[in-house]
Each structure stands twice: as C-alpha cells, then as structure tokens.
Amino acid sequence: MTSNTPAAPRGRERRKRDSRVGDKIFMNLSRGSGILLLVIMAAIAGFLTWRAGIALTKNEGNFLTTFEWTPDAPKPVFGIAVLAFGTIVSAAIAMAIAVPVAIGIALFISHYAPRRIAQPFAYLVDLLAAVPSIIYGLWGALFLVPHLYGLTSWLDEYLGWTYIFDQSKVGTAPRTLFTVGILLAIMILPIITAVSREVFRQVPRMHEEAALALGATRWEMIRTSVLPFGRPGIISASMLGLGRALGETIAVAVVLSANNSLSLHLLDPGGGTFAQNIALKFSEAQPFGRDALMASGLVLFVITLLVNGAARLIVARRKEYSGANA
C-alpha cells in the first residue's frame, strides 16, 4: 500500500518518538485503503476518458446531436442525443411517480400507521430494496407490460390531445419509456422511502407536540413541523433515487424495445438510455464500438457523479451523534 503521506498529521514528531511499529503499519494500511478508494475513483474517470478520447477522435458525427449508434460501420457515426433524452425522460417519470408516493409511505410508517403494522412494513420495504434489478426487469417484461395495455390505451384515448400521451400506433406493446418510468419508480420507491422515513423519525418530538398543543390537526402538524425538518432529507433521498434511476441498466434493457428514434410520444416504443444501450450493444460491439460505448458510459458516470455529489452536499453528514470523533 502507499506509505508516502501527503497529508501528515500534525502530531507526527511526537508519535515518531513513540515509534510503535504496529501503530505505524496499521495507520498506513488504513490510510492506504482510503487512498486506494480515491485512486479507484480517479482511475474510473481516467480510463473511461482515455477510451472515450480514442472513440471521439474518429467519430464522424456530432457526439451530442447524432441519433444513430453505428460506431462499427465503415464510417463510424454515433451520438448520445437519443440516449440522453431517454435517460432523462424515464428518470423524470420515475421521480414524478416515486417521490410523492415514497413520502406518503414514509409518513405512513413514521406517523400514520398503527405501531403494530408500522414495524413489519418498514422491514418489508427494506427487504424490497434488496430485490435484484434483473428480477424487477423480468417481472416488468412478463407481468407489468401485459397489464399496462389498458392504461396506455386509456391514456391515449382521453389524454391523446396532450401530444405526449398520443400513441401513433394504437395497441403496440407498451415497451415504452413510459413503462420504463413506471418500473423505475417501483424500483426506487424502497430506497427513497427508507431514507425519508429515517429523517421523519428524527423530527424532534417537541416540535410535533407543540404543533398539536396549538390545536393543529395531524396534517397541519406534519406540514408545519415534520416536512420542514425533513426537507433536506427528502431532497437527498430523492437524489439518491434519481442516481439509481439514471444508472439502472438491466431492468430497462429487458423492458424497453429500443431504437434510435427520439420522440416525445411517450407511449410509443423506442428510444433508449445510456446504460441500456451499453448493455445491449456491448455483446456485438467491435473494439472500436466498445470505445464508443465507453464514451457514453463516461457521460453517464459524470451525470451520476454530479447528482450524487449534489445530494451529499445538500445534506452534510451529521457527525455530532457519533460516539467517536467527538
């Protein structure tokens, strides 16, 4: 492991005099692992940039605005326009559904449910967060898709005038960005619920009782004391969910019938997402095609990095409750 110490602690001299070999070894080992993690993160960015650079210099199309993905053609052309659109739209649908419902469930578990129900359900939600995404995908393709025909044709019939809910071919299998959005919403529900529930639980009891004592109804109490206290928690939970939705690969690959069209008709099959595109195109990609996929992977990496980084910055981690590091 690394033993050079760019950030040597201040009490270095004193500790040297102690010269406990075990201490030194152990400290450097543990610091080395910390540094190793940083190195890995840097390496991810570095290696992807390296391969992406190779791909981008030979790209004949515009990387940002091209719809096609044919890097292995004699004249390599590929772009992320469709992928970026699909990723953002499906994640947006997922967030629009999942965040309100997750807040509802979290409130249900922390404030509404009878205690006897609340505990098992909190447990259940935690368990569901562990269900692998391939199983969500399988279920989405073989159970959810057949069950969504009714809903999509209804949306098309009554909300078709909004353009986005208009189906150009009525009755096509709903393997669409809309369905992907619903599936992603179901997938990220448990994580958003789990995090916001923890935050709601930490609301100072005094705040709640003060509100109730002033004659507030339960909803007014929640609106005036629980939600304001929990807002940063809700935001960071949602960002965590968003990060997952953006990077979800296999469930999307299973459900979506992808192509390289960019359409605002959400109920039409087609489109694609970054991760799904990588998973599907990877097996038949030539070496150069792989580099092109790495370029799109780099974009995805940067996006999730920004989203997650923002989530963490919004909620600075609480250290004051810790037994160590007082």
Binding site: R20, G22, D23, F26, M27, R31, S33, G34, L37, I40, M41, A43, I44, F47, A102, G104, I105, F108, F121, D126, L128, A130, V131, S133, I134, I135, Y136, G137, L138, W139, H147, L148, Y149, G150, W154, I186, L189, T217, W219, E220, G243, G247, E248, T249, I250, A275, I278, A279, L293, G297, L300, T304, L305, N308, A311, R312, S322, G323, A324, N325
Partner: protein, 358 residues
Amino acid sequence: MSAATTSVPADARPVDRPLTANRLPKWAPAAIAAGSIALGCGIGLVGGLESKLQWGLISAILFLGISYGLAAQVEGRRQAKDRFATSLVWVAFILAVIPLLALITYTVQQGAEVVDSYFLTHSMKGVRYSGPGGGIYHALIGTMQQVLLATLMAAPIGLLTAVYLVEYGRGTLAKAVTFFVDVMTGVPSIVAGLFILSLWNIALGFSYSGFSGSLALAILMMPVVVRSTEEMLKLVPNELREASYALGVPKWKTILRIVLPTAIGGITTGVMLAVARITGETAPVMMLVFGADIINTNPFEGPQQSLPMYIWQQYAMVNNDFGYARAWGAALVLIAFVMALNLIARGIARWRSPKGGH
C-alpha cells in the same frame, strides 16, 4: 340550573363547531373505502375496463374525493384537509405495496413450478434452448465464486477505510475520502463494468473470467461496506477506547481488540447486506464474465456463468416459454438467497448491536 354559570353549554357556544360534536364516526374511513372500492369495481365492470389497474385507480380517486367531501360537509375545512391527507397517505401506501407484493408473489408462483433438485444440480450443458430441461448448477457455482472473491477484496479494504475515517481521519484527505465514498455508492454498475473492461481486459490484456467480474463487483461493494462499518464504529463508545489507552494499550491494538470486536455484529450485517446487493448485479457480470453453459469451477480462467446473467440470457437470448420458465426458476433462487442473507444479517444486527454508550 342558573344561567350565570361560567361554563357555557355546548349548544350555546358561539362557534358552530364545538370540539366534541360533528365528527364522522370512527368507522367512516373504512366504510368510505369499502364504498369506493365497490363503486370503482362497478364503474370498471360497466365501463368494460379490462385492466384491474384502472379499477384500483378509480377506487382510489373516489376514496379521496368522498373522504374530502364528506368531511368538509360534516367537520369543516381544516378537518377535511386532515382527512384528505390521511387518505392520501393510505392510498400511497397501498398503491406502492401492491406492485411490490405482486412482484414477490409472482416470482414465487412462477419459480416454484420450475425449481426442483434436478434444476439445482444440473448445468445447461447439451440442453437445447428451444426445449425444456437444464438447470442452474453452473450459475450457482459461478455466482458463489465471484461473490466470494469480490467480498475477499472489498471487505478488508472497506473495513480498513472505515477504520481510517473513524479512528484516524482528520483534515482534507479524510473529507475527500468521505465525500468520494458517498459518491462512489452511486456509481452505476455498468460503469464499474466498463472501467474494469478498459483496465483489466483492454489495458492489461486479460480475457473474460469470473475474476474480472468480481473485480467490478468489488468496486460496487467497497463503498457500501465503508458506509455501514463507519456507522457501526461510530456507535462504539469513546469510554471503551479511553479505558484501553489508559491501560497503555497501543492504538492499533485498541482498534483490533476493543473497537472492532464491539462492533463486529454491525460490521457483519453491513458486509452481508453488501454481499446481497452485489449478488444481484447483472450488468458488470454480463460484460466481464461472458456466460457459459457448462460448469467452469475456475474463476480465473475462461467464461463462467452467474445467476443474474443466467436469468438475462434465458429471457433475452432464448426468449421462449422454456427460457422464461428457467429464468423464473433462477429468479426465485436468487431472490430467496438475497432475502435469506438480508434476514440473517438483520438478525445478527439485532442480536449483537452495540448499545449506544453516550
């Protein structure tokens, strides 16, 4: 009976809504719910809506509307809002629980028809994709080996990093590590796969193997282990450390003999939850392990199989009813494994959690 008493009789209060009167009875929400479900199903039947999803949605909207309307009539606007919020929370809960439970029951239903001892002990060697038969033995072996290797790499590094953050970490480096561990938790699995591909397979020239898959899994596992271990180490009371220092025990020994054993229950839980998480990862395995139909017990050479990838292949490549059946069987085994790990891990957490000492 004097009218001059200080207490004002209820019916004479100036406010038209005394505290005790004009409440909907306790059974009202249940009754409204039953009513709206009946009405929703009725509308669904009459309207000929085939999707049960729509029946449910209509009932939910009816429930919300009726609760609000009724409460507004009887109890007043503030109470009505309160009831509306309560109903909304219940509806949100039920709407969410239904698909999640449907997922589990459907998987169990479909999988139970497939899983038997033959399915668990045979590989896909020589099995025609277009026909029945075959099993997941090779996938089970692959998953076990890959996850084990990943754990062997990720758990020590994660543990040591957590020790660094809690016991030694000060200054910029510790802050940077904390931040990037958090960010690393969100790295999409496919990106981890691409990274190992570019490093291990392209730059260093190794070919597909179970081990390169486990490298990617280790990357996904590390931050999870760090986060959970960190939380556990923080729960170890400072008094224990100080007592140990006071006896002249060096810091490293204190950490190894006092701090880690105190938190071992929680640490085990964290590692097991992380294992459960990476067991289900498909994307990186798909790119790096390549998939094989035969048993390959050597994770360092040649393509292997893994459970999640097996499901993916049976669904996407085979794509017929026999493939679906095998996919469901593997899905059931996978879900059972992950859930069992989770339950055991949480059991351990409850059994051996450090009792907060501050």
